[in-house]
Symmetry: none
Amino acid sequence: MARTTDKEAKRKQIIEAALKVFARKGLSNFKMAEIAEEAVVGKGTLYEYFRTKEELIMGSISQFMMEFEEYVMAQIVAVDGPVEKIERIVQASCEYCLKNEEQLDAMLDFYAVGIPRSGGGPALMDLAPRYRSVIQWVGDVIQEGIDKGLFRKVDPESVASIVVAVLDGFIFQAAIGVLKMDPQKLSASLRDTIVNGLLKETEQGRI
Amino acid sequence: MARTTDKEAKRKQIIEAALKVFARKGLSNFKMAEIAEEAVVGKGTLYEYFRTKEELIMGSISQFMMEFEEYVMAQIVAVDGPVEKIERIVQASCEYCLKNEEQLDAMLDFYAVGIPRSGGGPALMDLAPRYRSVIQWVGDVIQEGIDKGLFRKVDPESVASIVVAVLDGFIFQAAIGVLKMDPQKLSASLRDTIVNGLLKETEQGRI
Amino acid sequence: MARTTDKEAKRKQIIEAALKVFARKGLSNFKMAEIAEEAVVGKGTLYEYFRTKEELIMGSISQFMMEFEEYVMAQIVAVDGPVEKIERIVQASCEYCLKNEEQLDAMLDFYAVGIPRSGGGPALMDLAPRYRSVIQWVGDVIQEGIDKGLFRKVDPESVASIVVAVLDGFIFQAAIGVLKMDPQKLSASLRDTIVNGLLKETEQGRI
Amino acid sequence: MARTTDKEAKRKQIIEAALKVFARKGLSNFKMAEIAEEAVVGKGTLYEYFRTKEELIMGSISQFMMEFEEYVMAQIVAVDGPVEKIERIVQASCEYCLKNEEQLDAMLDFYAVGIPRSGGGPALMDLAPRYRSVIQWVGDVIQEGIDKGLFRKVDPESVASIVVAVLDGFIFQAAIGVLKMDPQKLSASLRDTIVNGLLKETEQGRI
DNA sequence: AATGAATGAGCATTCATTCAT
DNA sequence: AATGAATGAATGCTCATTCAT
């Protein structure tokens, strides 16, 4: 059991180092040696935990994405009401980005890794399923709003797409430095713009 | 007299080949030799037009971005009315992506290139100014809507940020394959969700 | 623990191989791959010990020059008397060239490397200090001869310049094949021509 | 006839440019393009006059050596007396180096070109015959001195070797910057050191 | 298990040379 | 005859990966 824990801990340690290096150098410029140095292990050790560079990249990104998702989900479970849920998902996403400001620089790279190439093999990592599930989840919230008579009868999936798109767009704008990742301001702004537009006339101004 | 050449034309030819290769292989995996082959020129020729691989990348992306911008701008000049302008910018953006579906795969890479790295030099290409000007432009449209009494008194810049963010987010979703780039549908969807939310109560349903 | 290596020994091994290749191909025609092959190491290994080709060249030449100097110095320490010292330095220099006959071919290249270029950076290697110290040393011997009343009152430095010049000239003549590097003959010849001319009339024929 | 003159003139023009570039960059670092630029002709033109880079190098060095020799010879023809001849050859050599101070930087390279390589082809240029003839000529002068009863009965060829060696050594010392090419001083110095040593005792102090 | 010295496939880049104009 | 755009063979150097210790 101790063995497993040790192994797992060192793997985490390497991934943490990797994410730092990704942020600093970008996914296409970092070297395995840099990660080894950052993780304070030998180059050879990396290969005890990841078979190839590619696997280390995928492993690290997966880990990051998973923690992102977990964080957001954890912030949401206790929230009631569709409007609040959407507000909270925006806030939580921004919060996570802020807490991992360093990673922000690398997130676009993470996204790019998910692009399938027409020529050559498939995407290094298939982001689509994860993406669909997020959109699905947001769509359910929208549907919930409609069902509760709060929202107009919009197409839940389309709106969900938009909400998720805004979040990604914010991340990009923050990464290039034209937007400040302010959870309160951005969630308020999104609420005022999108959620308001979703509310039925009779509901507007009430919430 | 020596062999005469239209330098500008050959430069374009190389850039076109480069963009194709970028889409196929991604910005971090392509080889100069591939571009030479695609452009049907010798490897050495590439270096007659671009001093380094990096410069070729930047030149090609710049060209792409510029053409993107030009296309969208051209589609917009003749449009009147804030709502129509926003609708049209979404449509035009989608159209250009559709016309260059091949490039779509590479666009996330293009974005990633614009991320400044905390460690090491600056971003390969500074997208911020271009971005700010687009947001500014959309913001002006929003302001126009407010001035005309069409829109509620929102913060123009925040809304502009959101609109632009949605466009980028759409591009990403299309790239990973969870969204279809349908100009009509997406612009209608955006209009129904965002623009509606911007309209004053008295205006809703009229436009 | 990792594969352990005597870094210093391997460095020597590479330098030895390099000097062989220099002699065979000349400083401007050799390829790194040739040195790797001669040293029976991988190309990459060369770069573990020398950052660039230039550094490998400089390191190897430095080493050669140093060993040359050490050899000559070692042959001289025990020698008494100015005339004998000069004779011995000539002999020792020739001996070293003979023992390293292979290198002889490359020595002119080594010299050329020390030439500072008016345009562009400084010389790859500054031979001037080392040169001045040798001339200084020979000058001291001449001075000693004058002080002891053996030599005429000549300018020690000028004569030292000449002696050193002759040695270099010999190396060149040997390299192009118009002179045989015969320590006995050359030192005798130099003694008969130069040293004799330095002796006071009263001393001539005595020594 | 005009044709020939033009051709010959342009050839000279190229060689002159080449020598300048050699001095600036060294024989192993210059590029054909640099020579074309310096000569203010197109790259292609170089190949109208020299089949290859190597041929251009050889042609230029030959030209330089020939002019060197011609200059020295011209300065010597009218000189009488072995001592004066030797003094004059030293002076003339220094003078030429001074007049072509720029080339001085490249002369070691020229020498190096004459070194035959054990492995690979022969020397790019065989300096031996030219060298032997110079040594021969100096040897004849020494012999003349002996015959006239001025010099001791030394081995003419050995002494000639030394004299020529000194000249080359001076050039090297001047190139690396430890010696000033002063015709008067150097010839006087050489005369005082070598020639004096050659004089018979009865002649010393007379000349 | 951990390491880092060794490796060589792989790639950006250079530059002598060609040849259409 | 003169040119310089085009070319690709050649080469320095990198870095993921291996493996002896």
